[in-house]
């Protein structure tokens, strides 16, 4: 802004600071709770400054058998499960959507628009809506308690197909014609030209889908009964309920911190591409 209005500046700053406090305070408290021992967390007043138990809590959380009085998988195992699930969903969705968008934009085949609309309609059917029939199918196929069961039903949906279709439509026809004159066949065109040109969009989508996959709660809850297949997001909820005595806040908060970490890392490392992918229009 170019105007010089001190009151306005002051006011906007106050609003922003309040906003930051609202978002940052719970995270700070989570962090603080993860650095004290179990006893301190049950005493009033709650600590506002970090303690010295961070490493001990980290070790107990990652490798221990969960909360005392319960038998759950160690948190590293849940992190691993979540990671597999999130990666498989993100990569699987991207691969399938890229290929179907490629088919729909660049090939003439019977019922092409019919297929497009069918894919489009799945937008209206997220997992939550079709959860019972999907569960039935997955159970019949014997995919309960498996990574396949966790991920495949979530991979099949349209959002990304639609987005890639729009991306491909912005690529000028001459690019395809040039490639044809250069002698590139369809798959060559796909890998040599379409993929690199969609790179930033793929990155942006990866970030969104990774977080989407990581945050899945209902579906994993339904499909896994085996302790070794639990994901981290499910387990936080279970931890709060499972404790018969007062909750072990240090462990729960440490788990929450660990659960937040991967999405944050993905966003940080892919930030540049992510922003480009969402804003760049020129091809």
């Amino acid at each position: 802004m170019v105007e010089n209005r001190p009151w306005l500046a002051f006011f906007t700053h106050v609003v922003l600071l309040i906003g930051i406090a609202v978002i940052a305070l719970p995270i700070w408290i989570t962090f603080v709770a993860a650095t004290h021992d179990e006893i301190r967390m049950t005493q009033v007043p709650l600590p506002l400054l970090p303690g010295d138990q961070f490493w001990a809590n980290l070790k107990a959380t990652l490798f221990g058998r969960g909360l005392s009085g319960t038998e759950t998988a160690p948190v590293w195992r849940m992190l691993f499960n979540s990671l597999v699930m999130a990666m498989a969903i993100a990569l699987g969705k991207i691969a399938i959507s890229l290929l179907s968008a490629f088919a729909i934009v660049y090939f003439r085949f019977p019922f092409r628009m019919g297929f497009f609309w069918m894919i489009f309609i799945t937008l209206m059917l997220p997992v939550e809506v079709r959860i019972l029939p999907t569960f039935e199918v997955v159970a019949q196929l014997g995919m309960l308690n498996s990574y396949a069961g966790l991920t495949i039903p979530l991979i099949a949906s349209a959002t990304a197909t639609f987005m890639f279709r729009q991306v491909f439509l912005t690529i000028p026809d001459e690019m395809l014609e040039s490639a044809r004159i250069d002698g590139a066949g369809p798959m060559r065109f796909f890998f040599d030209i379409l993929l690199p040109l969609s790179r930033t969009n793929i990155a942006a989508l990866f970030v969104i889908l990774f977080i989407y996959g990581w945050n899945q709660y209902l579906w994993p809850l339904l499909i896994t009964t085996d302790q070794d297949m639990t994901t981290i997001v499910m387990s936080i909820k279970q931890m709060l309920e499972a404790a018969e005595q007062s909750p072990q806040w240090n462990i729960i908060m440490m788990t929450a911190l660990l659960a937040m970490l991967p999405p944050v890392l993905v966003v940080i490392f892919m930030q540049k591409l992510f922003v480009k992918g969402l804003t760049e229009t020129e091809k």
Partner: protein, 348 residues
């Protein structure tokens, strides 16, 4: 090297026919320009030669080969697009090498050809840059380089200069011409700019509404246009057309003025190029001036044929002050009178 033959070439989109049977024989090494107004089917014709559009009817031969069913890559052609169509994520070198790489040429051969082309086009310094780091003119050169390295039998150009500024356009025009002569490759060039067409082409095909109106050298088209369309399209400022009657070796204008020359009899349209009207105070063609455009080297006088509403333009050498309503006299050499019949076809 090879010539191109177009044999009764037709193209329809759905039910609408946009090319109505185009015939042409293009000699080996010839530079042919296809020129015409927007929407007349120039690009469609070129893209059919390239293999980017299917042929509805007729035949295309490159060399001795019928290429109707061949993929673009098998036709041994190279095409330069209006918007260059360079691959944005590849460096200039990769852009030029891509087609050769697909053909499976050895690495050394690719490098040699790319560098050779880069030298010819003076783009050696940009080889490692991405297209977006180049100016329009440089991109244009890269697009040409991509065509050259393939060593094709035919170059195809679709309005390659229309995105450049006027000065660069003139420079690139000369360069394309020189390059084509040097490489001796047959070229087909599409443009809607008649100056570009006149200066570049060995021969011009004037296309109008999906039909070839005339196919000949620039001078033939200028001196003996076969139709009123060609006559009006070629030459700047455009030819004047006046309703007239031909009788007994004379042409009688609407206002009764008689010009010696011309053949035939009956109602005709008389075509007169502005630059062929010679100032002559006692001349039979009387122009009532409306305004004058001063171009420096010449002056264009716009007005009407005296006593009628027919527009008439004359080009006078040098600068000349003209007042509105002033009547100027002109005469014209009989050889420079073009007569057309009611269908717009040339008489004589």
């Amino acid at each position: 090297m090879a010539g191109i033959v177009l044999d009764k070439l037709k193209k329809s989109y759905g039910g609408t026919e946009v090319l109505h049977g185009v015939n042409a024989e293009i000699a080996d090494g010839e530079f042919v320009v296809i020129v015409g107004p927007s929407g007349c089917g120039k690009s469609t014709l070129l893209r059919m030669i390239a293999g980017l559009e299917s042929v509805t009817e007729g035949e295309i031969r490159i060399g001795e080969r019928v290429v109707n069913g061949l993929e673009p890559a098998q036709r041994d052609i190279a095409m330069v697009f209006q918007n260059y169509a360079l691959y944005p994520h590849m460096s200039v070198r990769q852009n030029m090498a891509y087609g050769l790489k697909i053909r499976g040429l050895p690495k050394e051969e690719i490098d040699r050809r790319v560098e050779e082309a880069a030298d010819i086009l003076e783009i050696r310094d940009y080889l490692e840059r991405k297209p977006r780091q180049l100016s329009g003119g440089q991109r244009q050169r890269v697009a040409m380089g991509r065509a050259i390295v393939r060593k094709p039998q035919v170059f195809l150009f679709d309005e390659p200069l229309s995105n450049l500024d006027a000065k660069l356009r003139v420079q690139m025009r000369l360069e394309i011409r020189r390059l084509q002569k040097r490489l001796g490759v047959t070229a087909v060039y599409v443009t809607h700019d008649q100056v570009e067409a006149m200066t570049l082409g060995d021969r011009l095909m004037v296309l109008n509404g999906g039909r070839s109106e005339q196919f000949g050298t620039p001078i033939e088209l200028y001196e003996r246009p076969q139709t009123t369309f060609v006559a009006g399209f070629i030459g700047s400022p455009a030819m004047n057309f006046l309703p007239a009657t031909a009788e007994g070796g004379e042409v009688v204008l609407e206002n009764g003025a008689r010009l010696p020359g011309g053949t035939g009899a009956g109602r005709v349209r008389l075509g007169l190029r502005p630059e062929h009207l010679l100032a002559d105070d006692g001349g039979p063609i009387r122009l009532q001036a409306i305004l004058a455009e001063q171009l420096g080297a010449s002056t264009l006088v716009h007005g009407t044929l005296e006593g009628t509403d027919s527009a008439l333009v004359a080009a006078l050498p040098g600068t000349r002050a003209v007042t509105e309503g002033e009547v100027l006299g002109f005469s014209v050499a009989p050889a420079q009178m073009h007569l057309f019949d009611g269908e717009g076809r040339r008489i004589g």
